[in-house]
């Protein structure tokens, strides 16, 4: 076990990726993701890993280039945020369709307009249906652990799907946190070398990215959907393996002080740490409140959500993105979907918080919990918390 070091989380993320012996990286800089791109470039330039770093001219080309490299059998990585992810959007669904296990680091940032470089989840939420696997880190240690886990998950023969690791831009990427790095030997033991099931080479010519007529497209979707849903089992197994090796536990839905809770708060991403403090304060005041932290976004952990909310009367779901004219928060609408058929389901209150980098403090979480009954009575599907009226 190495000693914890204080490191900026984005820099630590790059160090974690370097531990994974990647072959090719292509990162286009965009705030707040830039430090990952820059530090990884440093690592390659110093020869600390034997990899190629392509200074692509756009994010669209970044994902295209890593897909080309992944097609040859290389282990690949890219990273972006917000507008960069939007620019990649055309290519995004093609990566899982071609079953290329690319790993992407995301510094979650608000999507324009208005243009805003600070943190919320609108960028990854807009890629919800792309077919990528998605996990969320709450703190720097989780970010580092998740990058290493991500390669193993993506490359698993029962998965073979690309995965993104989400870190809140600035609020997580740019903070300095204590991080325990696995040793290279430990990572080598955990993460075997990448063995592609198919690769581009003249010794075995094949065609990747063929055209799918109407008589096969449905079957292609089904095959991919089944693989995506089945990935949850692999993710849970890999997280259990990680816990055994490193002692740090990861679950699709983590719980904090939920024992006997009548009201549950749910967060996704680093806000969960602030919410924990709010739960502590509320418990001191005698409020029977607990916290659920969603770490697995895709494939959505329906069973775990149903299990986690059992016994609670109210569920306060926080979202950091909104679907305009839709059901409100995306996380909340998925949870409503998960709970619709349940006989005893909690009442749900949905707050949209922390948009465009607006800070959400301990007091805000407390107000959200305490204001939940009133919010429920209003009959609105969702509330944008803290908006100045």
């Amino acid at each position: 076990m190495t000693k914890p070091v204080g490191m900026e989380v984005a820099v630590a993320a790059a160090e974690a990726v370097a531990l994974c012996n990647i072959d090719v990286a292509a990162c286009y800089p965009i705030t707040p993701n830039t430090h990952i791109a820059e530090h990884l470039a440093d690592i390659v330039a110093d020869g600390r890993i034997d990899a190629e770093y392509i200074t692509v001219e756009s994010e669209h080309s970044a994902l295209s280039a890593v897909m080309g490299a992944s097609g040859t059998g290389a282990r690949t990585f890219t990273a972006t945020s917000s507008q960069g992810l939007m620019y990649m959007h055309e290519i995004l669904p093609i990566t899982p369709a071609m079953r290329l296990p690319v790993v992407m680091g995301l510094g979650n940032r608000a999507v324009s307009g208005p243009i805003n470089i600070w943190n919320d989840h609108s960028d990854i939420i807009m890629q919800r249906d792309s077919g990528w696997l998605s996990i969320f880190a709450d703190n720097g240690q989780e970010a580092v652990d998740m990058f290493i886990q991500a390669f193993k998950i993506a490359e698993h023969p029962d998965v073979l799907l690309p995965i993104n690791v989400n870190m809140d831009g600035f609020q997580l990427t740019h903070v300095v946190e204590p991080i325990v790095f696995p040793t290279q030997a430990q990572v080598n033991k955990f993460l075997p070398p990448y063995k592609p099931f198919a690769s581009l080479h003249p010794d075995h010519p094949l065609s990747m990215g063929t055209l799918g007529l109407p008589d096969i497209y449905t079957e292609a979707v089904k095959a991919r959907d089944v693989a995506t849903v089945n990935a949850k089992k692999v993710i849970v197994d890999i997280w259990k393996e990680w816990e055994k090796m490193f002692g740090r536990k990861y679950e699709p839905v983590a719980s904090y002080k939920t024992s006997g809770a009548e009201i549950l708060l749910l967060t996704m991403g680093s806000m969960g740490e602030t919410a924990e403090m709010a739960v502590d304060e509320l418990r001191k005041k005698g409020v029977k409140v607990g916290l659920l932290k969603l770490k697995l976004w895709r494939p959505f952990p329906f069973d775990e959500i149903r299990k986690a909310v059992r016994g609670a009367k109210t569920l306060v779901v926080t979202d950091r993105a909104v679907s305009y004219g839709g059901p409100g928060g995306p996380v909340c609408s998925e949870i409503r979907g998960a709970l619709y058929d349940q006989p005893n389901r909690p009442e749900i209150v949905n707050y949209i918080i922390g948009l465009g980098g607006r800070d959400v403090r301990v007091e805000d979480f407390m107000k959200m919990v305490e204001g939940a009954p009133k919010a429920r009575k209003s009959g609105d599907a969702y509330q944008i918390y803290g908006v100045r009226e």
Partner: protein, 97 residues
């Protein structure tokens, strides 16, 4: 080749086609209305018809003369048009010269 149409379990992972050149299973010959016929008495065995066929279906025989593989020939007429000694004629399908 697998039976078509495939089930979702049979669909190759990632839509990859593992058999190079298996497009040969699709016969494009029925597309044509004209077909090329070689008059070997005029043919000078230059290979121009072979070079210019977009299908690559004009092939040299063991005797050095050329002929189109009628399973694939689309009847575009390029070979007949490019043939120097005009040894190739395009005749209507079903009408032998």
């Amino acid at each position: 080749m697998k039976k078509w149409p495939e089930t979702w379990k049979e669909y190759n992972t990632g839509g990859i086609v593992f058999e190079p050149g298996n497009a040969r299973s699709f016969k494009t010959g029925p597309w044509r209305s004209l077909k090329p016929v070689w008059d070997n008495s005029k043919c000078i065995k230059c290979g121009v018809c072979y070079i210019f066929c977009p299908e690559g279906c004009v092939q040299e025989g063991p005797d050095g003369f050329f002929a189109a593989d009628l399973d694939y020939c689309k009847g575009c007429g390029i070979c007949a048009h490019e043939c120097w000694p005009s040894a190739i004629s395009m005749i209507e399908e079903g009408h032998e010269s």
